[in-house]
Amino acid sequence: MVFAAEHIDWQTNAGRLLDRLVAKLPSAPRLEINVFGSAPLQLFIERTFVSEDVDLFATEDGWLLLERFVTEQAWGKGQTEFYIQVCDPLAFKSTFDWRVRAIEVERHGHLFRFVHPWDVLVSKLQRLEEKDLNAFRLVVAKTGHPTEGEFLRHLQKAVDLYRPKFDEETQSGDMTVNTRILWRELWGRDIDPRAEIIRPAVERTNRAHSDFDPTLKGQLANVKIPAAPSSENY
């Protein structure tokens, strides 16, 4: 897989729909549209990796505008077979630095930001239905990556997803359980997410926060005037 703008297959279902979307969008305001879910996998890895929809989200400012526009064009959920799901910007959760890996493409005056397949996989791990597992199998089979080690390090960058859920988040899956299932499926072994993902990531954070001498204030309380040199020393 070459994850680069020139390798986007615009002739896929997702590609054509996204192209139509920005071609019809008013040129102002210029929108930043983040594409996640299965679409980046279809566009970059396997054109036959089908999905019912294209998941995207805009910035907080552009969200309502985009949602309204998609509904007006009858491209929304329940309006056509292959539809656009305009998601809340809060809905996409992945590694803390997913934007660094995302591919940005300017098209018809708007910006598409395609989430890197590995970051798509992290977001899918939170649900891990059979279709999500297939996405993992596809990416690994087609590209040979991520390897087990690569994905371990990648998940350390999404360590906050392993925190206990709020009571209101009952619908979202359990990352720890899903990670165990994934490892058994993909790499044929049991994983201890706490030992291999959470702890190494937390240790990195702790190192950054405790990189100072904690005794300094205590030393300050013990500052004394240096003793006058005794005459016996001379």
């Binding site: 100072f212 204030k217 205590g218 300050l220 309380a221 500052v223 005037i225």
Partner: protein
């Protein structure tokens, strides 16, 4: 951040720099009665923390290091 709050944070930083200088003088065996009195006050100040003192010590040493390098004639 309110102006009042930012002034308070700034004070902590300044006090910690004074604390750092006292500790450096202590290390060099050059503390005075005034240093000891100030050190007692700063040690009891909750705005002065080991983390800020540590930053200040590195800042002071870093400045000295930079100045020494700048003074060194080019080869």
């Amino acid at each position: 951040m309110s102006e009042n709050c930012s002034r308070t944070l700034d004070r902590s930083w300044r006090k910690s720099r004074i604390a750092a200088r006292i500790l450096l003088r202590h290390e060099a065996g050059k503390t005075t009665t005034r240093d000891v009195r100030l050190a007692e006050l700063l040690a009891a100040d909750k705005g002065v923390t080991s983390r800020l003192i540590d930053q200040a010590i590195h800042g002071i040493r870093g400045r000295a290091y930079r100045l020494a390098n700048e003074r060194r004639p080019a080869a």
